[in-house]
Amino acid sequence: MLTDRQIWVGIALPGLVSMALMLIVIWRRWALALPTVLGIAIMIGYWLLRRPELPPQDGCDWLFWMQVPLMLGGTLFQLLGARWAAVGAIAGAVTYAVLRPIMPAIGPAAIWSSLVVATLWGTTVAITLPWAARRIDSMWIAAALAGIVGASAVIVLSSNFLTYGIIGMGAAMAILPIAVALRRTAHRSGNDGPGIIRGLSVSIMGLLAGLLAGGRYYPHTGVSPFQFHVLGAAPLLIPLACCLPGKRDWVRCVAAVVLPSAIVWCIAIPAAWAARHAAETTDSQVPRGL
């Protein structure tokens, strides 16, 4: 059960900060600032919810401080161009940083396999999402990413990692104003949609990989391997939806949002429902069987 403070500070505030910053971005035509807007919005909510330690002590602290390289990486990739898709590998670095404190408990194999998977996700998304942004409006891509991050946060929250769950929900809320303002930003700044999506994809995939890896390995009953892989790879459904044939762009736009959202929320809603039921059940009420 979330408290008022967790809802307002952890979830709503990043959305409000992002909205306020996006007004400045639109006014000043700073399309290059979008990864920074996202990072700052997440960091403010996180800071007020749970003061992070420096040097970082655990996965929560690491995910907070990794927002800085994610902001830089996103901006850099947006600036440098599509040839630098390897920047997407930063998702692997985030995964490593988040899991490193529990290496003695989970073993190096778990960390390295997660790192490899996250690196693959990050680089593939960095290559394919800008391509998708040439086929459909980048606003829809950002909206789909918000849905995926939100669903991942719900699953992480359901797996008993409250802090990560709240941060993920706050991040999803922070992506929404960016998505809404994206079309206007891209046009007014003279910057292209694919460029903006390049920057955002690095920031969002790094965050998503960190959330899922932490949610999988920190709690004792964490995110399942199935949920981990489906949610992490869900952004790849966006370019897949863009492959739909036909002349009507709106069909591809709707498919790009609905296809990944439907899949991730089909996983997230039952998990949240089961977690809510379990939270209101004592051990003596659990059927023991015969």
Binding site: T3, N160, Y218, T281, D283
Partner: protein
């Protein structure tokens, strides 16, 4: 007859002293490690740890305590809550798999009371605390196995150990009662 009684008393005293100075291993079957926490400033929830161990010595001048608790064994009667307590929001048991208390100095307050100063390590943070200890009793059970029962009641603040759960739902201060029976074999 008087001489016989005197000898018997002397032997009893010596054997009692010798028995008490032996390091005693915590017997989890006859011990309890419980805690009480206030939920949302409304009510109290009691829980316990089921996996703990260690040794202690009860002696006039050289008492010592070395106790370890596995935080992953926390049990509050609700599995979902226990799993949440194990997560990084609270104990972070994957990263910090043990809670330890090691005494650095033990002061005898009375025949049945001690005051142990020691290092409590919780959530990776070590702080010196003072724990009042009551010696509940001494005896043999079963015959030939010497036992000493102690009980320590003390409080810790989660914020002192950088545990940043939600203070609105779980109070910062937790009351801990460790009722331990140590045996010499």
């Amino acid at each position: 007859m008087k001489r016989l009684v005197a000898v018997a008393l002397f032997v009893a005293c010596v054997s009692s002293f010798a028995f008490a100075a032996v390091p005693l291993t915590v017997d989890p079957v006859h011990s309890s490690f419980v805690f009480k926490v206030t939920h949302a400033n409304i009510g109290h929830i009691w829980g316990h740890f089921s996996d703990y161990g260690g040794t202690f010595v009860i002696d006039d001048s050289n008492s010592a305590f070395d106790i370890t608790v596995n935080p992953a064994s926390v049990d509050t009667g609700a599995k979902k809550r226990d799993e949440h307590l194990q997560a990084p929001d609270y104990f972070n048991t994957k990263q910090y798999p043990a809670i330890t208390f090691k005494s650095t100095a033990v002061k005898k307050v009375s025949d049945s009371r001690l005051e142990a100063t020691g290092d409590l390590t919780l959530h990776g943070v070590t702080r010196s605390i003072v724990v009042p200890i009551e010696i509940v009793g001494k005896g043999e059970f079963p015959r030939g196995t010497g036992r000493v029962g102690i009980e320590a009641t003390f409080s810790v603040k989660l914020s002192d150990y950088k545990i940043k759960g939600d203070p609105k739902s779980v109070a910062d201060e937790i009351l801990i009662i460790a009722s331990l029976e140590g045996k010499d074999k």
